[in-house]
């Protein structure tokens, strides 16, 4: 009825036609304008701050600085509770730790009045030496967090005295001994950069008091329930006094998991009693929200001559910037969502430090950790194949994960804590690999073809895995109610941020209730009206929230049958496709529900379901690319990107495909173009869409995304996740293709034309 159908997004037509649906569209007309004065220094202490002229300025309602706001430490990461991220953040700080850190918050009637008032604030800074290079941060004399009450909620390897936000270490078997026994060992060092999310809707928050004097916050968030908890606790409000509404969101990709402007508008409304709204400028999104974690990855892979991989060791240095949001979780995922790909090893080592620097903080970003780890691992496997003189495809086939197998890593490494043991029940890596290579004409082109005097074509590919939610942590829930005329409301806490999750959850409900999708009216997410959900992150919505919807829908079906028994006064009642039958009598749900409301055994039928995963079945993908390199300039044309994905059942094949296509292009952006360039003073040069190179449609020549037949027994109707897997392969696939083209490995992202050119000339 609903699953595996290419139906349109339930909100699609309305959004394309520009219906008011996003945070700013819903702001009260008279909302005060809230803007932020931000630090011009990468590291500075505020010696004094004079806001008197600003406060006296025309139209100004209030001004906040560190001196008159809550000084409670918290983590703005937007994770479950207690968070595996350090409590190193305050709403406003006396020490500024990066250029763009909020110094003062000003609210006024008109934007130009607020701008004028901000210009009148006098701040005296004592400029401090800053750490801008993450490779020197550990144990540096400059301490980025000291004496500021920074702490962790439990053991996360948090050592602020060493500038370490989080650290982790694990070993299976003996890495050292196994490496010694190997015939061939590849060792390499890889660098990945900070990447900006560049969602088209800037972070936007709106707040007001409702008629019950409760603080309402409409905000562009991926985690409305976490926003309620973090804002309420930090501002000392009972959570019963806070309502958080997530309207439509203009893209997130992890960038809206954390708290951004929510505190600022809430404080203004609490102080003035008036509605307030805060829309980040694009510059603020770049400088004052957060980026992907920059990393240095050292990898060793050892194998015997016959191609059996014996050992993998990964050592990571990760840059979390000024605050440690997601410091530990991103680090761990770099191992836990890559290393199990090759599960037949005798030993695995993984360790890393996540260091503080005086840069814009790093945080959640689609495929976090996995994309960085994948770049190192899948490049290393190609290098190992060269050393072994074995076809890389054969090498992978011999060593990669297969259905029915497991990896010890699943049990040892989770996300911010221990993991969960699991056996892989669906893994179609072989099918993905075969189809991808076939579509790519891999063996026709491999390693390279000279197509013109200065033009070389080549191919490269990489395998990838992700997860589907965090077991025993991520929870989703759903409520379904039956209405007269036989349609249902589905209320979910799951947060559609443009992913189409409202639609696929409606499809799941329709499938379970055996009704057309039009009979399911979805509403997400509002902390007052929808049940709890941890939010849109960790590839959890389809798998975790999807299950909660399935459970609620199945219970609803039971409820309908139970009510039908009363109606027919018989135990032998059947429900099939919206019709109740009892022997030779039948009644449609449409007529039956109307009776239930108005005339017979009157009762409102409601059912709820909630679900916490007990495993996190990985979706798999093989991504392959055909490129053309101009050897005179180093320019690389991406001619075709082929992705073959195993995500179990595709609940909506259209939406799944676009999720993967969009993710591939973000991954290509990270590999080839996107970079946060920092000046010697710590200033972000690329703080606009003019300077920061998001791929345009001109860079994309051809994408070829397909799905293999797969069914995950533990998933809702056989589904696994699909939101993140698409982003993981471009760095390694492109680096491998370039190696095949020019014979040299480029191991630093982004791989710009000048880097390719230099590599050719070197």
């Amino acid at each position: 009825m609903g699953v595996n159908e290419k139906i349109r997004k339930v909100d699609g037509i309305g959004l394309v036609m520009g219906k008011p649906a996003y945070s700013d569209d819903l702001a009260p007309r008279d909302a005060l304008i809230v803007k932020v004065l931000r630090s011009p220094h990468a590291h500075a202490e505020i010696l004094s701050i004079d806001t008197s002229k600003a406060e006296a300025s025309e139209g100004i309602a209030c001004v906040f600085t560190y001196a008159n706001v809550s000084d409670v430490n918290f983590s703005r990461a937007g994770q479950g509770f207690p968070e595996p991220s350090p409590y190193d953040h305050r709403i406003l700080n006396k020490i500024c730790r990066y250029i763009g850190e909020p110094v003062a918050v000003v609210a006024g009637v008109f934007e130009h009045q607020v701008d004028e008032a901000i210009n009148k604030i006098k701040v005296e800074y004592k400029v401090l030496d800053a750490i801008l290079d993450f490779e020197i941060a550990k144990d540096h004399d400059i301490k980025i967090h000291s004496g500021d009450g920074t702490k962790s909620m439990f053991e996360i390897g948090h050592y602020p005295e060493k500038n370490i936000a989080a650290s982790y270490e694990m070993e299976i078997g003996s890495v050292k001994e196994t490496l010694k026994q190997c015939d061939v060992v590849y060792e390499g060092r890889y660098y990945t950069q900070a990447q900006a999310h560049a969602m088209t809707e800037p972070h936007t928050s709106v707040s007001y008091y409702d008629q019950q004097d409760r603080l309402n916050i409409i905000t562009s968030t991926q985690t409305p329930f976490h926003v309620r908890r973090i804002v309420g606790k930090t501002l000392n409000l009972p959570l019963s006094k806070v309502r958080v509404i997530k309207p439509r969101i203009g893209g997130g990709y992890g960038g809206k998991q954390a708290i951004h402007g929510e505190f600022f508008v809430a404080m203004v409304t609490m102080k003035t009693g008036k509605a307030a709204k805060c829309i980040f400028s694009r510059k603020e999104v770049f400088e004052g929200s957060y980026t992907r974690h920059q990393m240095r990855l050292d990898i060793k892979v050892g194998a015997m001559k016959d191609g059996t991989i014996q050992v993998i060791d990964m050592d990571i240095l990760s840059n979390t910037g000024a605050y440690g949001e997601h410091a530990l979780t991103v680090l761990m995922v770099a191992g836990s969502k890559t290393l199990p790909l090759y599960n037949k090893v005798k030993a695995v080592g993984f360790r890393g430090d996540v260091v503080y620097t005086n840069l814009t903080p790093a945080g959640a970003y689609r495929g976090y950790g996995a994309i960085q780890g994948n770049f190192a691992l899948e490049s290393a496997i190609d290098e190992l194949a060269d050393l072994l003189e074995i076809d890389s495809v054969k090498l992978r086939e011999m060593n990669m994960m297969k259905e029915g197998e497991t990896s010890e890593i699943f049990e040892i490494m989770g996300e911010g804590q221990e993991g969960t043991a699991m056996t892989i029940e669906s893994c179609k890596l072989q099918e993905c690999l075969d189809l991808c290579l076939e579509k790519l004409n891999y063996y026709d082109i491999y390693p390279r073809k000279q197509v013109a005097p200065n033009k070389i074509r080549s191919v490269g590919y990489a395998l990838a895995m992700q997860g589907s939610g965090i077991p025993y942590i991520d929870m989703g829930s759903a409520i379904i109610k039956l209405n007269d005329d036989g349609f249902f409301n589905l209320m979910v806490g799951a947060t559609d941020i443009g992913t189409g999750s409202d639609t696929i959850l409606a499809q799941i409900a329709a499938e379970a209730l055996e009704v057309p999708v039009e009979k399911i009216i979805v509403y997400s997410s509002d902390t007052d009206l929808t049940p709890f959900d941890t939010g849109a992150y960790a590839s959890s919505t389809t798998y975790v929230s999807g299950h909660s919807v399935r459970i609620a829908a199945e219970k609803m079906k039971e409820n309908i049958i139970e009510a039908g028994r009363k109606h027919f006064n018989s135990h032998h009642v059947n429900y099939v496709e919206g019709v109740l039958t009892c022997e030779d009598q039948s009644i449609t749900l449409k007529d039956f529900s109307t009776k239930l409301f108005y005339s017979e055994n009157q009762e409102q039928l409601v059912a709820s379901g909630s679900y916490v995963g007990t495993k996190s079945p990985p979706p798999y993908m093989v991504g392959g690319v055909e490129i053309e390199v101009d050897t005179r300039t180093g320019e690389v044309d991406i001619l075709n990107y082929v992705a073959v994905v195993d995500c179990g059942t595709t609940i909506n094949p259209n939406l799944a495909k676009i999720q993967v296509e969009g993710a591939i292009v973000q991954g290509i952006g990270m590999t080839m173009y996107e970079e946060v360039n920092i000046s010697e003073q710590g200033h972000n040069f690329n703080n606009s869409f003019m300077r920061y190179k998001v791929p345009t449609r001109m860079e994309i020549k051809h994408l070829d995304v397909s799905f293999v037949e797969s069914y995950e027994p533990s998933g809702p109707f056989g589904a696994k996740s699909v939101g993140e897997i698409g982003i993981d392969t471009p760095p390694a696939a492109l680096s491998n293709a370039l190696k095949n083209a020019i014979g040299k490995r480029i191991n630093v992202l982004p791989i710009r034309a000048e880097d390719v050119w230099k590599s050719i000339k070197a």
């Binding site: 349109r8 699609g12 809707e201 439509r248 893209g251 969009g662 449609r697």
Partner: protein, 149 residues
């Protein structure tokens, strides 16, 4: 300064500040389809049509609009729905924030170019950024629409 601002065929007596851009005026007047994505005229999310020309409303001064015909998605409901049908059939409407600007660009393209090639279409739409979709689905949708027309 008072101007006669014509939005979607309706006339408004409007008093723009000298530094006021069209996007602000349009949103104030309730045309919420017009979104803002950047500060540097680089994303196309704010695209509207002024006197038949596609312009970024974030950098077009309202004071320049006296007597000019401004068109937003709200002003072309039938054409917008037609385009939306193709975009949504492809599933390429993801967050949707870029979509109204994209619709205006497609509308302008159809007014300006007859039987364009895919390369011409890509060039025409190059200024309309989309971070969610990877663009290919948009091109499939436009191709199908052109085939039907």
């Amino acid at each position: 300064m008072k101007i006669n601002l014509i939005v979607n065929h309706n006339h408004y007596d409007y008093y723009p500040r000298p530094d006021e851009y069209l996007i602000e005026s349009l949103r104030k007047l309730g045309f919420q389809s017009v979104k803002k994505g950047c500060d540097t005229t680089s994303c196309g999310v704010c695209s509207v049509i002024v006197d038949g020309q596609l312009v970024p409303s974030c950098s077009y001064l309202t004071s320049r609009c006296d007597q000019k015909e401004v068109l937003t998605v709200e002003g072309i409901p039938e054409e917008a729905r037609h385009i939306a049908e193709f975009i949504t059939a492809e599933g390429v409407d993801q967050c949707g924030f870029c979509s109204p600007g994209h619709v205006m660009a497609i509308h302008a393209l159809k007014l300006e170019l007859k039987n364009p090639t895919m390369e011409e279409i890509k060039h025409y739409l190059a200024g309309n950024m989309c971070r969610c979709s990877g663009y290919e689905g948009q091109h499939r949708a436009i191709k199908k629409m052109m085939e039907v027309e």
